[in-house]
Point group: C2
Chain length 311, copies 2
C-alpha cells in the first residue's frame, strides 16, 4: 500500500470489465481497506473469489453495502433502478454512492429517489474500456491516462465530490466535472453514435446477398475490421445505453445522417473537391487525439504485422 | 536472395505506402533483379533514393518502364488514365502491367485502351495498408497474411496471371481471383463504405456547436477514436476511390442507411429486443475475423495501456 486508504469499505455492485478493473486498481494502489462485491451468478462469484481481487463476495446487495462508505454500481444501466431499490435502505449515512454508467441523466432519475438524506450521490463515468466483458477481462491499468467524468447533481456535498475525484485520480484517471445533461450529449457523439454505426455496418455486411460473409471476413483488412472491435462490446450494456440516452443519441444521429446525405450527394455528382476537403480535415483530428495522449501513434493501432503476428 | 528472381526489371509508377512496401518486400525476398521507380516530386525521389530500396528513380514513366517485364501502377486511381497514356507506347511486348488500386472496373476502363497487343493487363488490389501515406511509411511485411485480389479481364493470358500470383504469394499474400465487377462490390462494403462513414462521423463531431472539439478529443476513448484511424487515410487516394466506384458505393450506402433507419426506429420506440439481437450477432463476426487471421485478438487492438504507454 502506497498511501493511507481513502475508504474503509468499498462495495462493488456487479463485477464485469469495469468493476473488476476498479477492484484490481484499488488493490494495487491501496485505496480501500476492504473490497466487497456482489454478483448475481454463481459463475461470476467463483471467478471473483478465485482471482482474489475482492475480500468478500455476495449474491445480493444489502450484505455488500452494509457498513460501506463507498458504493459503486457497475451493472448495466437497465438494472440501476432495481439495484437502488434493493440497496437504498441499507446504506449508511455519509456514504458516497456512485456508478460507472455511460449515461447520467437517466441514472440520477433511477437512483436518487431510493437514497436516504445524508447519502451522497455522485454519478461517475470512466471513459475507458475494451471490447471484452466479464470479471476475467479487468486489469488495474484500464483507467490510467483516461478521463473520468463526474456529474454531481446540483446541491451535492462538495467534499464527497472531491473525495471521489481523489479516488479516480489515484486509479490514474484525469477527472472532469460537468452537468449530467452535457455529459449525455458529449458521450452521444464520442461514444454512443460511434457504437451504433459500428453495430450497424457490421450488421449490414452480414446481411448482404451479393457479397458472402466469408468474403466480408477475408477482405476485412480494407477497413471493415476496425468497426468490429466496438461492435463486439457487451450487448446488454449497449442496449441499455441506447434506451437510456434516447434523446441525445437521436439528435446526434440526425446530424450524422444530414452530413452523410451531403457526402452521398457529393459522390453522386462527382464533387471531388468537397470530398477532398472533408478527408483532409479529419486527418488533423486524429493527430490531436494522439497529441492528447488518448490514442497510440503506431500505424494500424500498433497491430502486429506479418512475422510479428501473435499466432 | 532466397530464390530465382521472378522478373528482370520491375517498374513502380508512384512510390507511396504501397509502392514502397512492394519495393521493400521484393528486395527482401529477391523477387526482381532491378527495381525502377517514378516519382513526380523531387522530395519523394530524394527519400526513395536515400532509402536505397530501388535501383533507379525517374521523374517520368517512359524511362522507368523501358525494358521492364513487370509494371505496377501505384498512383491514386484518378491519375491512372494519364499514366497509361504516358507509359503505354514504351512498354515492351510480353510485359505484365498491374496496379494496386482499390477499384477495378474503372481502372480497366482507364488503362486497357492505352496498352498494345501482347502486353498483359492483370489488375490487382492488395487489401492491406495503414493510415500512413508516403514512401517513408512502407515496410516489407505489409502484405504478409493479407489477401491480394487479382481481376484479369476475360481473355487474359493465364500464364501472366499465374506469374503475378506467384509474385504476390512471394510477398506473403494469399491471392484470390474474381471479376472486376464483383471486386468493386465486395470492396464497397468491406472498405469504401467503412471509410466513408468514418470520415463522416469525424466530420460531424468536429462541426457540432453543443460539444466542443476539445471535448471530442478528450473523451474519444469512448469509441470515437477507433474511427479516426481510417479517417486519417490519404485524402487524394480516397477521393479517387469514391469517384471511381460510385455505383457500388451508393448501392451499399443505401443498404447501410436502410438498416440505420431501422435501428433509429428501434431506439425511438424502446425496442430493446431488436437492439440486443443485432448487438449479439455482430460480436460473432469479429470472432470469425480473428479466427481467419485478419485481426489481432488482443483487447483494444493491443493498444498500450497505462504504464506501458509508448510515450
Amino acid at each position: 500500500m502506497s498511501k493511507q486508504p481513502l475508504f474503509e469499505r468499498m462495495a462493488l455492485i456487479g463485477v464485469g470489465l469495469i468493476g473488476s478493473s476498479i477492484a484490481h486498481g484499488a488493490r494495487k494502489h491501496g485505496l480501500v481497506k476492504h473490497i466487497a462485491a456482489t454478483a448475481r451468478s454463481e459463475a461470476t462469484r467463483t471467478i471473483v473469489a478465485d482471482q482474489g481481487i475482492v475480500d468478500s463476495v455476495y449474491e445480493t446487495g444489502p450484505e455488500a453495502v452494509a457498513g460501506a462508505d463507498l458504493i459503486i454500481i457497475c451493472t448495466p444501466v437497465g438494472a440501476f433502478e432495481a439495484v437502488a431499490k434493493e440497496i437504498g435502505p441499507h446504506i449508511a449515512p455519509g456514504a458516497i454512492v456512485t456508478d460507472v454508467g455511460s449515461v447520467k441523466q437517466a441514472v440520477i432519475k433511477a437512483v436518487a429517489p431510493h437514497l436516504a438524506d445524508g447519502v451522497h450521490l455522485v454519478p461517475g463515468h470512466p471513459v475507458a474500456g475494451t471490447e471484452n466483458s466479464g470479471p476475467e477481462s479487468g486489469f488495474a491499468e484500464l483507467f490510467e491516462d483516461r478521463w473520468c467524468i463526474l456529474t454531481p447533481p446540483e446541491g451535492t456535498d462538495a467534499t464527497a465530490t472531491t473525495k471521489l475525484q481523489d479516488f479516480w485520480q489515484a486509479l490514474g484517471s484525469r477527472v472532469e466535472i460537468m452537468t449530467p445533461r452535457h455529459h449525455d450529449l458529449v458521450l452521444a457523439i464520442t461514444s454512443h453514435v460511434p457504437h451504433l454505426i459500428a453495430y450497424n455496418i457490421v450488421g449490414t455486411a452480414a446481411d448482404l446477398e451479393t457479397v458472402t460473409e466469408s468474403e466480408v471476413i477475408k477482405f476485412s483488412a480494407g477497413g471493415f475490421r476496425d468497426f468490429t472491435r466496438i461492435a463486439a462490446s457487451d450487448p446488454t450494456m449497449w442496449r441499455d445505453v441506447f434506451l437510456n440516452n434516447k434523446e441525445a443519441v437521436l439528435e446526434m444521429l440526425g446530424r450524422f445522417n444530414e452530413d452523410l446525405s451531403a457526402l452521398q450527394r457529393a459522390i453522386r455528382w462527382d464533387d471531388g473537391d468537397a470530398l477532398f476537403k472533408l478527408f483532409s480535415h479529419t486527418r488533423e483530428i486524429r493527430r490531436e487525439i494522439i497529441d492528447a495522449g488518448q490514442e497510440t501513434e503506431a500505424p494500424d493501432f500498433g497491430r502486429p504485422h506479418g512475422s510479428e503476428t501473435e499466432d
